[in-house]
């Protein structure tokens, strides 16, 4: 017994101490619940994992979701229903000539981690590095005719362009390429941000943890120079699947998520408790692309036959649940360059497809389509498979995970890009047509231009349109470019889709007009 007494883990614990200890433990365990209950934590779903913290590697909206929280720009998009921008780091910014923009930064805007004040040198470093060939910036096209930033003072500078660049206010400055990073911190890190946690941030939040494939954990940035963020902690949680994201929302694991088109009608019929669904016209463009350089499709009649055998309304019904409308091109309604109608109507014409194949001397055509492993595109591919069979076309579907899929058309990732046949893709978009056509110029073959579409007139128009300041003339140019794409037989435009968001009533989300979240502006309701 004596031995037992001396080795007890509670050698002299009285009943009163036990009660006190239990009470303290209970209070401690209740703390996280209290923190959650007062709304100081926000969980936002990310449908893919952003690449990293370096804008050189950015490829689309997912990076913007993260960068918007941790970095700043000269100007930012205004949340709401209309596309507009507002000052962010800039105190003043104005177009001083067709090829120059002068800016002055606000005083006392600070970097985190002791890296001092944000200066014009940081702006110059951040934008100029995209133009350095060796840096292989994936978003260099966003900057158009930008050449360099001239520093004129500690907080002032001039942005120079080779020629006028209309989208500088809608794409270059308020989106990915306009992200300002800390020159001193990045140079100390070897010129590129490759660390698990970014060395310096300036936005309302800072990264405290990145659980690969799972989430980014952000917390309020104490060095942020603007109005303090409303949430103490923000988790950007990677949930690839729309159904899983919706279940996560219902379980309370995420506060804000986009949802699949298949859920819209059901949620309209049975609105969820304590949550709101919103619908926004999206700017994305989904399309079926065909590699026009593939010898199998050398004869344009074969390419046209394939395009005529794709029934877009059936795809809208099956894969987009009739929530989205067929598109006429890559530029959404409301933007300069939108075409009221395409050259080929959305409805399939199987007789015409068969006729074209007969003219090309083909009895039965077997082709392959590569799609991303998501329910919308695999469903669309299955509908195509069933419909194309009516025209004598056998379609084999190859499904890929994200990493594998997005390397298919990239020349630096092997030779598969040469043998590509059909693909279904969706690109994100900004409110300027330049951003849509930039990926289909000849220079983009082997990178984003998987159709390997190369047309001199298209390239010329793209180049001229970015400097064109007359909206009507610009509109014509972009319409013509989409005509050229369609005439090549390499493109069957599907839809711009819709963005359906589902969020808890305890938060007041902020989104762009196309429904994409601007998490840095989220507030508690």
């Amino acid at each position: 017994m004596n031995d037992l007494k001396t080795t007890s883990i509670f050698p002299s614990l009285t009943r009163r101490q036990l009660f006190a200890g239990t009470a303290a433990l209970s209070a401690a365990t209740m703390f996280p619940i209290a923190a959650w209950a007062d709304g100081s934590r926000l969980n936002v779903r990310a449908y893919l994992e952003p690449d990293d913290y370096d804008p050189l590697d950015a490829s689309g909206f997912l990076e913007e979701l993260l960068y918007g929280c941790i970095y700043r720009k000269l100007i930012q998009y205004v949340p709401g229903e209309e596309w507009d921008w507002q000052l962010d780091l800039a105190e003043t910014i104005e177009q001083t000539s067709p090829t120059t923009i002068a800016f002055t930064l606000k005083e006392g805007q600070m970097w985190s981690d002791g890296f001092g004040e944000i200066t014009a040198e940081d702006v110059k470093f951040s934008m100029d590095r995209h133009m350095v060939e060796e840096n292989n910036s994936r978003i260099k096209p966003d900057l158009g005719t930008f050449t360099h930033v001239e520093v004129t003072g500690r907080l002032s500078g001039i942005i120079h362009m080779e020629r006028p660049f209309a989208p500088i206010w809608t794409i270059a400055l308020p989106y990915l390429a306009g992200t300002v990073i800390c020159k001193e911190a990045v140079e100390a890190a070897g010129g590129k941000i490759t660390t698990a946690i970014p060395p310096a941030v300036s936005g309302p939040y800072r990264v405290v943890e990145h659980r690969l494939g799972e989430r980014w954990v952000l917390e309020r940035n104490p060095d942020f120079s603007g109005e303090a963020a409303d949430f103490e902690r923000v988790d950007l949680i990677v949930v690839v699947d729309d159904s899983a994201a919706e279940i996560a929302k219902e379980a309370g694991d995420v506060d804000f998520t986009s949802i699949g088109a298949g859920s819209v009608q059901r949620l309209r019929d049975n609105p969820p408790a304590d949550a709101t669904m919103t619908l926004h016209p999206a700017l994305f463009y989904h399309w079926v692309g065909l590699n026009v350089q593939n010898p199998k499709f050398e004869d344009i009649r074969v390419r046209q036959a394939i395009m005529h055998a794709i029934d877009v309304p059936s795809i809208m019904q099956a894969a987009f649940f009739d929530v989205a409308e067929p598109s006429t091109g890559i530029i959404a309604p409301g933007l300069i360059g939108h075409r009221p109608e395409g050259l080929i109507p959305p409805q399939a014409d199987f007789a015409r497809a068969r006729e074209l194949l007969d003219e090309a001397g083909i009895d039965r055509l077997e082709i392959n389509i590569d799609v991303l492993n998501n329910v919308t595109h695999t469903t669309a591919a299955q509908v195509m498979q069933a419909m194309m069979a009516q025209a004598g076309i056998d379609l084999n579907i190859n499904v890929h995970e994200s990493g594998s899929f997005w390397s298919l058309g990239v020349a630096s990732d092997g030779d598969r890009w040469k043998d590509l046949e059909l693909t279904i893709k969706r690109f994100s978009m900004t409110p300027d047509p330049y951003y849509a056509t930039a990926w289909f110029v000849s220079d983009q073959i082997g990178d984003w231009n998987w159709e390997q579409f190369s047309n001199e007139e298209f390239d010329r128009l793209h180049d001229e349109a970015l400097s064109e300041t007359d909206p009507e003339r610009r509109d014509e140019m972009y319409r013509r470019m989409q005509d050229l794409m369609e005439e090549s037989g390499g493109y069957r435009f599907l839809t711009h889709g819709v963005t359906a968001n589902l969020f808890a009533d305890s938060i007041a989300p902020a989104t762009r007009p196309d429904g994409q979240p601007l998490v840095q502006f989220f507030r508690r309701a």
Binding site: D241, S243, E246, I247, G262, S263, R266, S314, Q317, A318, V371, N373, V375, T378, T379, A381, Q382, V383, Q385, A386, N396, I397, N398, V399, E401, S404
Partner: protein, 283 residues
Amino acid sequence: MMDRLKHSLIGRLLADPMAVFAMAIIVGLVIVAVFADVISPHDHTAMNLADRFAPPSSTYWLGTDNLGRDTFSRLAQGSRIALYVALVAVSISGLIGLTLGMIAGFGPRWLDNVLLFVFDTLRAYPTIILALALAALLPRGLSTVIIVVVITSFSEYGRVVRTQTLSLKNAEFILAERAMGASAARIVFHHVLPNVLGPFFILAAMNLPVVITIEAGMSFLGIGVPPGTPSWGATLKDGFDYIRNTPWIIIAGGLPLILVTLGFTFLGEALRDQLDPKLRKSR
């Protein structure tokens, strides 16, 4: 005659209610697979978007999926895929495992060590990771599923057969055969092989549902059969994607997997009970 049947393996299995239940399921599966075209009330590929997500009815016995395809007809066709993958993959991996296991057990020590190293290495590799890696390299389809199953499972057969062979290698009747000048081939094929077949078949029966669930799992993850193929896993995937719209697809897709797993597992256990002398004595 009746007495002989009663004491034969089949007779003993027929006397075991669990085995009878298992065989009924398996025979049912085989019948559905063979006569899938006859018993399917609809074309399993025919889309009817107006009827999508229909609940079970006299027209659609197990309802319809997101493209309005008849779920029962797709499951009936899916039984062919399940059986095909299971039989081919288990046969190939079993044959490889049987051969290598006997070589390891009866061959020289160094060869045993090499093969044991191969078996252990492959067994240590997670099936799903290997499946993901191979799916990225090979074209999608049943052949890729079969390759994944063979690579991940032949070592299991090899291990079991090797152990059995080692225990037989120094048995008195084998030593007597050797003393009488019997060749290695005669010893292996006439004495070792018949004695390792019992455990081998038990393992094969137990592995059949595992293979079926691997195929279903790969198709569920989108790395198995191409979309549109009526695999049970693909049906489960459709059911999961649209579980908020209708629960019927995932319920219907899960049922055959549960039944087949039960059937083959019970059969394997019944076989083990009958073929293992120790278990038979204890009954």
